[in-house]
Symmetry: C2
Subunit: 592 residues, 2 copies
């Protein structure tokens, strides 16, 4: 069975030594996040995910979810117990405001826990993950009455949440939504339509499921401007909070998917189900975007999470498996062969994954911290700056870390040879599970267009200029430190190329937007490489300050590997972006 | 259900206009391969694979193989009928010498058919594919008596073949093989041991299965020098050629794999099974290498094949699926949205896959043609030159085209959004099937080491220098043709970088072999990019000579895309290779 050990020490290093959490003690909830509290949360989170989530991951994949004739869906053996342990630990409310039943701690810590849980069991972690997204949308947009009715049970974990966007003919282009909402005359609406790919749409983990549903009110304008958001509980909730009658929503079937078999991906049928408008009429997409942005960051975390657990298993196998001899003479002379970790190509693979994971973790936690600042700071300028960072990095975290997470799972699987291809070892599951993260919550091509088409130019390029300025200042401040040279040298070069690519878009994509579209994916990955490189700069600086302490020498090596082996890709990316769209778009559609 | 249309026109262009098959009419079998015969073979091959193989691909994946309580294995519904059609078409013997029951045609044409069959149904195509590999090994190493006993039925397709190498504790490192062979005193041996991951080890498609098995004769030297090759039929063959008693070999279980579910991957138990030595005692690895080299090329073909069928389905979906509007204004103004093929990021994806596929097909067929020359030319110098090319390109074709084939299947799947993740559309199957090609017949890291550690330095670098010289001469000969500039310019640059990387190894890897190991995978991919670039140079030249004819303008565009978007990667590869092994190897094994 695959192993998993939550990366507590590395997380702690990032939170304290790189991000210096204590600097933000003035933010609500941060004063409570003392080093001791943080340590306790990391330890408890590690224990829960290692001992409750991980042991039912492979079996959950093999068993999958079952839809019964009466429409009920049951999750794999052991999921209920693991979920209950999660609920009992109060993890769902970790960063929810205390007045709504949570603990009010930084959402940065919640992001840490999302990584641990998703690494240990992605399919299972999605259930509470979706609830958290729905909670965030309700906090922001629901009426006080709606909040009172739904939030306490959701924060507790007794009820779960979902997002219902996709329909058979539309996923990316939500303007095409057909599900309709007809006023019942009592303030409620009758919702009718079919939604597909609904994660956790029906299951046996909670007493109720609170669906957030996009639909079109009769007579609403065409396109995205006519879409409203509704709350549609699986079981209607009486005014006293008790459960009433079953609502007119049911799971028509389960999708047969490549992976995340333990998560029930449902076709949901709404047959005049009773729903209530959340927020303003026809402003549903904006409301849903709160949930989607939360979800996009969470999906980026999933990419890292699978990459991390795949890495750990590849390391364990590479230490055990004896095959061939080192190129520099036997390292295990008494054995029949050397462990494969002696081979440079195996090392290169492991170092590549690790150098990405540690930088991705740092960028994710930095982004989560900015989200906390954006939501909690009393200072409007600080909030704005944090929101800028958050908006800029959301597509990068989602698009880059899920692409790389999948690639890394494939690389880790490769270490196992034929054993990686058979299901018993669990490596195939990591690959199959990771694959969905590149697709859901906006396929990665959409993330790239969000970055290039919206985020770059927003507010006159304020967010991107601020970020470039921060990286430039860091490079300059450390330019004369010889120990920092292996980091800030290549980082500065990568940043220069990223700036050139940005300038290229400014000069070439305004008049010809296809030039932006044809370079978007490369640009997103280039942005990710430079942002991760900056994280390595920060981590190297922090490691040098703690030189001699355990793990610090290794940090410096892994960071150097990143600069030598990952950063050079920016040269190829710049060349591809600058090639423009002419050749890409030259063929007629029927010439393919 | 997924679509498949064999790429007849493109194949024909490569065979006639790029490779000029008619130039080799002096080779045995080539005079018979007239343009008309070749056209008939391509058409028949297309028809068979499109109408018999493709329709049972998705259903074969979903049903899989079944092992019954008595050890029998049955293949999915429809496999038997499709296999019979293949046998009746005489496809197994297409390029086998006429005196052995074949048609004696160029094996280049057999390679074409391997692509069509693997694209249409990889799991099914593997059954006859393995037989062909076993036939090749027997032709080269078996005694006349053994040939007479086994080959006619195998060439006919009534019996199939397998290769039995891997054991639970060894795959790459065959020196660790434990299966033992004890002389029976009558010239035969009793074979005992367990083999795993045996493709087509047991099934219901043929009357008999001829296993080629690596085992160690009692008292043989340790390691690779003590391994012998045996032929072990599932059913013993009487002297008159009729089937006798069941031999002591059986399928213990089927592996639960990520993909190729329609192919029976078996644990094979040898319990004193009767086998006969093939070739010399203790020279089994050398004999098996004939089969492995054939198989490696065939696996490279599989990589291309899955990439091609995945591409075709992505194109079909991208033309149909309406989602969003073109950045340059509606292209389908009367519809609710534009087909996604208008989006530059979708185009970029499709063009990337296509530019790889067409170049891969050209390099594969060029390599197959060299194999024909190596086996059939009366001229020793020509044979030697062809063998050099073959040896050099075998790891490139296997390693690069399976890595890219998998990547391309993933890219094609991405075009489908969520629909790519559900099994009904077949895109998940292409990804899962393609994944094995990176692993079997030598994991791709091994291919890279074969290229860098053995092939480069062999005979004083003769093969690689000849190849570089050929590409250089081509660039020089076309340097003054403005129409060829977009091709030979970037090709020359890529070649220059490849030569620099080669020189770097010469200067840095002799004394420190880890420097070769740490750069091997990048080098292999760089070699592939330059070799494909050279193919694009040749194809552009051929297309320019036929300017105005159908498809030629498109060829020139796709080739330009390759040069603009694929070739720049060589810069990053050179940088990574030149970084050397120091950082890669710096950590202690227990620091991972």
């Amino acid at each position: 069975m695959p192993v998993y050990k939550a990366p507590v020490a590395d997380t702690s290093f990032i939170l304290h030594d790189v991000l210096d959490l204590s600097r933000h003690a003035d933010l609500p909830g941060f004063a409570e996040a003392t080093p001791d509290t943080v340590a306790a949360i990391l330890e408890e989170g590690a224990k829960l995910t290692e001992t409750s989530f991980a042991p039912v991951n492979l079996s959950g994949d093999q068993e999958g979810c079952t839809r019964h004739a009466d429409g009920r869906v049951t999750t794999p053996k052991g999921f209920r117990e693991a979920y209950d342990a999660y609920v009992q630990g109060g993890w769902l409310g970790l960063s929810v405001p205390e007045e709504l039943g949570g603990q009010g701690l930084p959402s940065t810590l919640n992001t840490v826990m999302q990584e641990f849980a998703s690494a240990a069991n992605l399919a299972l972690a999605m259930y509470p993950g979706l609830t958290m997204g729905a909670v965030a949308a309700l906090i922001e947009h629901a009426s006080p009455e709606q909040k009172a009715r739904y939030l306490p049970k959701m924060v507790e974990g007794t009820w779960s949440g979902t997002m219902n966007l996709t329909e058979p003919h539309c996923g990316t282009d939500l303007g095409l939504i057909k599900t309709k909402a007809v006023p019942n005359g009592d303030g409620s609406f009758a919702i009718t339509g079919t939604k597909i790919f609904i994660s956790a749409g029906e299951h046996d983990l909670t007493e109720n499921i609170v669906h957030l549903v996009l639909a079109r009110i009769e007579g609403a304008p065409q396109g995205t401007k006519g879409i409203s958001l509704f709350v549609v509980p699986k079981v209607l909730v009486n005014d006293d909070g008790s459960l009433g009658e079953r609502n007119g929503v049911s799971c028509g079937s389960l999708e047969h998917k490549m992976g995340i078999h333990g998560n029930a991906t449902c076709v949901m049928n709404y047959d005049g189900a009773t729903g209530w408008l959340v927020g303003e009429e026809n402003r549903g997409l904006a409301a849903m975007f709160v949930m989607m942005n939360e979800a996009r960051l969470a999906v980026g975390v999933q990419g890292l999470a699978v990459s991390e657990v795949a890495y750990q298993n590849a390391v364990a196998y590479a230490r055990d498996r004896l095959q061939g001899r080192s190129l520099t003479g036997p390292k295990n002379p008494d054995g029949p062969a050397d462990p494969i970790i002696v081979h440079p190509d195996v090392r290169r693979t492991l170092m590549t994954i690790r150098s990405i994971n540690e930088a991705a973790r740092a960028l994710i936690l930095r982004t989560a911290l900015e989200s906390d600042i954006a939501h909690r700071s009393p200072d409007a300028a600080a909030r704005q700056k944090a929101l800028d960072f958050l908006g800029l990095m959301t597509p990068v975290v989602k698009g880059v870390f899920t692409d790389l997470g999948f690639d890394n799972a494939v690389k880790a699987q490769q270490m196992f040879g034929g054993h990686g291809y058979v299901e018993e070892w669990g490596m195939s599951q990591f690959v199959r599970d990771a694959r969905i993260t590149m697709i859901y919550e906006g396929a990665n091509g959409i993330q790239a267009m969000d970055l290039v088409g919206r985020k770059l130019a927003k507010d006159g390029g304020r967010a991107v200029m601020t970020f470039f300025g921060e990286v430039e200042a860091f490079c300059k401040a450390n330019a004369s430190d010889p120990a920092m040279q292996p980091y800030v040298g290549p980082l500065g070069e990568g940043l220069g190329r990223l700036q050139q690519a940005t300038m290229w878009f400014m000069n070439n994509a305004m008049a010809k937007p296809d030039n932006a579209g044809a370079g978007a994916t490369d640009y997103m990955h280039m942005f990710g490489l430079v942002a991760m490189g900056y994280m390595w700069g920060l981590m190297a600086k922090a490691a040098l300050a703690k030189e001699g302490e355990p793990g610090m020498a290794e940090k410096l090596v892994v960071g150097r590997f990143y600069m030598e082996r990952l950063m050079p890709e920016t040269a190829a990316q710049l060349a591809r972006i600058s090639a423009g769209a002419d050749t890409t778009m030259a063929l007629a559609a029927d010439a393919f």
